[in-house]
């Protein structure tokens, strides 16, 4: 049996979905779009197998956005490759029935069998809302049940009713009389909905006082921003600082595993493949899990609680001025730690084009992996002086690099909006502010688990294959016997590097730098170890000081500055590209990101090098 969940965005649909399906969920992308397709499975008390699809929240079947179009097409049976649902569950927030009842009246016209689920019924009862369920069912002409998604057993009535409806053979759908409603028809439908509610629901006249009280602080001009700042700060710290020890642990664990392989297997190709290809590859995927889990824990907590809408409210004008959507600030902020959880976090942005823009500029945020490279070059080439007696020159340069990242992101965002999304009318800011709700542990745990699983399955496979490829380039062909230079100098990577070197000469890059950039495609911080390898310095990343000293003797200052400028923009992270591909559903955007960042990097590097040379000569 096939069910579909339809409802307004804050009806507790997802909690109901989680309550019904538990961890038996499958999340995928609808073809070609970033909207997620969530399908789950459960078994009714009578043993019936049911699949249920959680459709994007909508206020009307009109299809005002790609998300809502999905819902509309699914319900009408126009969605390609999708099964027409046998029963459409319309989920409602029992404290807030006006808009849902209107939606139900609209859904009735499609002729699909409906079941109205009055969710969050416990909250309604607590506030003194009483619903004459039988009368409501009579007036609407469809079965109505109550549910408490977050309580154990709260869906029992729903399950029973589903069995009852399924037993009525056959479920004959009515004729599809639906058409997009005009404003006048919408008005009439809303009036009818209000009449029905007046006849069946008794509402307390006072709204939820807790929400009003909390909002008085949270939406206060001063206190509100302070609270937002605090929450963002804590989140940033959590991802940056708290995830770090976990990541180090995982990194070391995989390193130890690699060492084990090194010691047990005889030296040679197999050993290299397993240690540097497979283990390193898998490790480089798993190492992102702590950050992703922490970020999504925060996001799901804030969303369930109801704070996200308030944050969007506070940030709207500020972000809007920069051409960005209000909800983009959390993904962009996370990107300062790592663009990968940041890009995955863009799912909080419903609007497809805003989401795409945010994904495309997220890699420009100075991520933590750039720091080892920045630190290496800054400490080797920038003197430890103080400007004007108190400003540390090195710190200033680092700050300048961060600032360059942010400014370039805003600039690219502006360009994207101007060139690519010209026909796009920005959705007006009209957002429902739901009542605050206590987040439920189980629902959040399922959410985080699903996200982590998605990352491993989707991005993980791509990242892994890229790592193996890069290992291959850096290891083949093996150096001939008696070779004195580092092994990498004989590999394909070196051949590619030396061939490309003339292209990079105007940037002041020598062939060693270009060769190091190839394994550096795996991840930004790998460039440090790669430079070490090319200059035959043992010790990998830990020998950064040594590497720095060697570089200081071999490179000119303009070259060093040029490399810094390169790193601000260059797409030196296969994992980020892989995630972009997975989250956008096509390679097109990944290729675009790669290209535009490469172009920016080249131009910035070129300019920096030549300006630096000119200044040095003058």
């Amino acid at each position: 049996m096939h069910l579909a969940l339809v409802g307004t965005p804050n009806s507790g649909k997802t909690a109901l979905f989680n309550a019904l399906t538990g961890s038996r969920q499958k999340v995928a992308n609808y073809p070609g779009v970033t909207v997620e397709r969530k399908e789950g499975f459960f078994v009714t008390p009578l043993g019936r197998q049911v699949s249920v699809v959680d459709l994007p929240g909508t206020y009307s079947l009109r299809g005002r956005s790609p998300d809502e179009e999905i819902t509309r097409d699914f319900v009408l049976g126009h969605a390609t490759g999708e099964v027409l649902p046998d029963l459409v569950l319309c989920v409602a927030d029992s404290t807030n029935l006006r808009l849902t009842i209107r939606l139900v009246l609209e859904l009735k016209r499609t002729g699909r069998p409906l079941l109205l689920v009055l969710n969050m019924y416990d909250i309604a009862t607590r506030r003194g809302v009483t619903v004459d369920v039988a009368r409501l069912s009579l007036l609407l002409g469809i079965p109505v049940v109550t549910s408490i998604a977050v309580r154990k057993g709260g869906t029992s009535e729903l399950l029973r009713k589903t069995d009852e409806i399924a037993a009525r053979t056959p479920i004959l759908p009515g004729e599809n009389l639906w058409h997009p409603l005009s404003a006048a028809e919408l008005r009439a439908t809303q009036r009818e909905a209000d009449r029905i509610i007046a006849a069946t629901v008794s509402l307390p006249t006072r709204p939820d006082t807790w929400t009003t009280r909390i909002d008085a602080v949270v939406l206060h001009p001063v206190a509100g921003l302070a609270i937002l700042g605090l929450i963002l700060f804590v989140m940033f710290q959590a991802v940056f600082a708290w995830a770090q020890p976990l990541m180090e642990l995982l990194s070391r664990a995989f390193g130890a595993l690699g060492q084990l392989v090194h010691d047990t297997l005889p030296a040679g190709l197999l050993q290299s493949f397993i240690q540097n290809g497979v283990i390193s590859g898998v490790g480089s995927v798993i190492v992102f899990l702590p950050q992703i889990i922490i970020i999504f824990l925060f996001i799901l907590l804030l969303e369930d609680f109801g704070y996200m809408a308030r944050a969007a409210f506070l940030m709207d004008r500020i972000m809007g001025g920069a051409g960005l959507h209000g909800r983009a600030f959390i993904p962009l902020l996370s990107s300062f730690a790592c663009a990968i959880p940041g890009i995955m976090a863009t799912r909080v942005i419903d609007n497809r084009r805003d989401r795409l823009t945010t994904i495309l500029i997220a890699p420009l945020m100075t991520c933590s992996a750039r720091i080892p490279v920045y630190t290496l070059i800054i400490s080797a080439f920038i003197p430890a002086e103080q400007l004007w007696g108190w400003v540390d020159l090195r710190g200033l340069v680092m700050f300048g690099l961060y600032a360059a990242g942010i400014i370039s992101a805003l600039f690219v965002s502006f360009l994207i909006k101007f060139f690519m999304l010209r026909d796009y009318t920005p959705a007006p800011f009209m957002l429902e502010l739901p009542d605050y709700k206590m987040p439920r542990v189980r629902s959040i745990a399922i959410g985080v688990y699903t996200r982590a699983k998605m990352f491993l399955q989707r991005a993980g496979t791509t990242i892994f294959s890229m790592m193996v490829l890069i290992w291959f380039l850096a290891s083949f062909p093996t150096p001939p016997a008696g070779a004195e230079d580092p092994a990498i100098n004989y590999s394909l990577a070196a051949m590619i590097g030396k061939t490309l070197a003339p292209l990079f000469a105007p940037l002041g890059f020598n062939w060693q730098i270009v060769v190091a950039l190839i394994p550096g495609m795996a991840a930004r911080e790998v460039a440090v170890a790669a430079l070490g390898t090319v200059y035959a310095i043992e010790g990998g990343k830990e020998a950064a000081d040594q590497i720095g000293q060697v570089l200081a003797t071999k490179w000119s200052l303009p070259t060093a500055l040029s490399l810094l400028a390169w790193y601000i923009f260059a797409p030196q992270c296969a994992s980020t590209l892989a995630v972009i591909r997975r989250e956008t559903g096509s390679s097109k955007w990944m290729a675009l990101t790669f290209t535009y960042m490469l172009v920016l990097a080249y131009v910035a590097s070129l300019a920096t090098y030549n300006i630096a040379v000119a200044l040095a000569a003058g």
């Binding site: 808009l99 005009s182 709204p207 009003t212 709207d316 004008r317 957002l431």
Partner: protein
């Protein structure tokens, strides 16, 4: 013939919601989407407003204002709270 000035019954003034201050409460009189300088077409704006519950006769109250330019506003319509920009709120006339 009695010359008496016919006193016109004063209809309460209709104010666009976009100009309402924080704390204002009233009832929606009518929607005029063409009055709003929105990027959306009038029909589309009107539909979206209705879909969020902005219908004639609904009670509204302006609960909060944004920090920059007192925009956007958080409005309570019956028992739904909605955030909307003042520009779009200009389409809603309240008494």
């Amino acid at each position: 013939m009695l010359m008496r000035a016919v006193k016109q019954t004063d209809a309460p003034p209709q104010v666009p919601l976009g100009l309402a201050k924080r704390g204002y409460s009233g009832i929606i009189h009518h929607l005029a989407a063409s009055e709003a300088g929105s990027a959306l077409s009038s029909e589309e704006l009107e539909s979206r407003l209705i879909e969020l519950g902005f219908v004639e006769g609904a009670r509204v109250e302006v609960l909060h204002e944004g920090i920059v330019g007192r925009d956007p506003i958080a409005v309570r319509i019956e028992n739904v709270t909605v955030a909307v920009r003042r520009r779009e709120a200009m389409a809603v006339f309240v008494v």
